[in-house]
């Protein structure tokens, strides 16, 4: 069991080292592969962070250009995804600061945001699909209304499956803050979950 775990940890470390080496060389093949590999995860994060799909797509492209330009800064000791999400996050915050001096919190107050675009997911039965879709829409609407810092933490935790330490690294906050945001985020979403059940 331990040998298997060691094997996977070592394989991941090797992969990160390879990525770091490739990024230093600005290897276009590697970048193409990474863009394909992280396309959905990164876009999902950016959609939730910015609240708008069109804006998220711009940030998506900008993030990869930054990855190319600053590839030399990735040391390969941490997960590549953590570094990638940190870059994406800084881009969104910088964009907001340029628009007006603000923080990530202001995203929660944007009334002009279009609702998240939730395509119907393929489900076994039409009824289940409808129920599931409505529930997803309710919770998605709730996500749009809770504070951006909670939204971001919930997304990183439950959609991206990041560890608490990785989230702390991405958002640049202490572990206690991450735990607190997860707890408060889930609590803030409760009314929407209840609404979805009615």
């Amino acid at each position: 069991m331990n040998a298997t775990a060691c094997y996977f940890v070592s394989a991941m470390a090797d992969e990160n080292t390879d990525i770091a080496r490739g990024l230093r060389r600005r290897d276009p093949e590697l970048l193409d592969r990474l863009i394909e590999q992280y396309q959905h995860r990164l876009l999902r994060y950016l959609v939730y962070l910015s609240g708008r799909r069109d804006l998220a797509e711009d940030f998506f492209q900008e993030t990869w250009v930054h990855v190319l330009e600053r590839g030399g800064q990735y040391d390969g000791r941490h997960e590549f995804s953590t570094w990638l999400f940190t870059i994406a996050r800084h881009l969104v915050i910088d964009h907001l600061r340029r628009k007006r001096p603000t923080s990530l919190d202001s995203l929660a107050d944007q009334d002009d945001l279009a609702p998240f675009d939730i395509p119907a997911a393929g489900q076994p039965s039409a009824f289940d699909a409808t129920v599931q879709r409505e529930q997803n829409e309710q919770i998605s609407a709730g996500m749009q209304h809770i504070a951006a810092e909670y939204r971001e933490t919930l997304l990183l935790r439950f959609q991206e499956g990041m560890s608490l330490e990785e989230i702390a690294s991405v958002i640049g906050a202490p572990l206690g803050t991450v735990k607190s945001r997860i707890y408060r985020g889930l609590s803030a979403l409760e009314p929407w979950v209840k609404g979805a059940r009615l």
């Binding site: 193409d32 959905h40 990855v67 939730i118």
Partner: protein, 170 residues
Amino acid sequence: MKPDLMNADPHERARLIIALSGTAGLSSAEPSHAKESWLAAHLESCASCRAFAENSRETIRALRGIPITASGRLVVTTQMRVRQRAAELRRQQERFWVICVCCAAVTLSTAVSTALLWRGFAWLGHQARLSTPVWEGGFVVFYLTPAVLVGIFLLARGTFLADHNGSFQD
């Protein structure tokens, strides 16, 4: 505002454990057996925490079930943009090396030619029976004039470009 499991009231403690362990398989936040037993006992007797656990479970399931996917067009556009930028950076890098080599060559030739020129001016001054400050002044003027002229030209060109294009960046 930071969660403290030891000092929190039982309901808050239970909800924290639920929130942080709501995702089995997500490593470090999984509750220990002691916490798990305590939580199970608490949930038996507390309807509101039970509801919170149920809501959290549904929220997490829903969050995972919301599909947001990148389109193929976005991926291809991004890959093209990244490749273009990579080519741009490569060209910049090449220009940088050319400039570095030019600077090194200019420094080397300046070091050699200055000594030779200084001796030449000294010899000419001696032949023309000029006082030392005069031929030294001549040397300085001869030495600096090209650089001053090129500087004025570049400054004028820069001002012209700025007036006509708005800025150099454009």
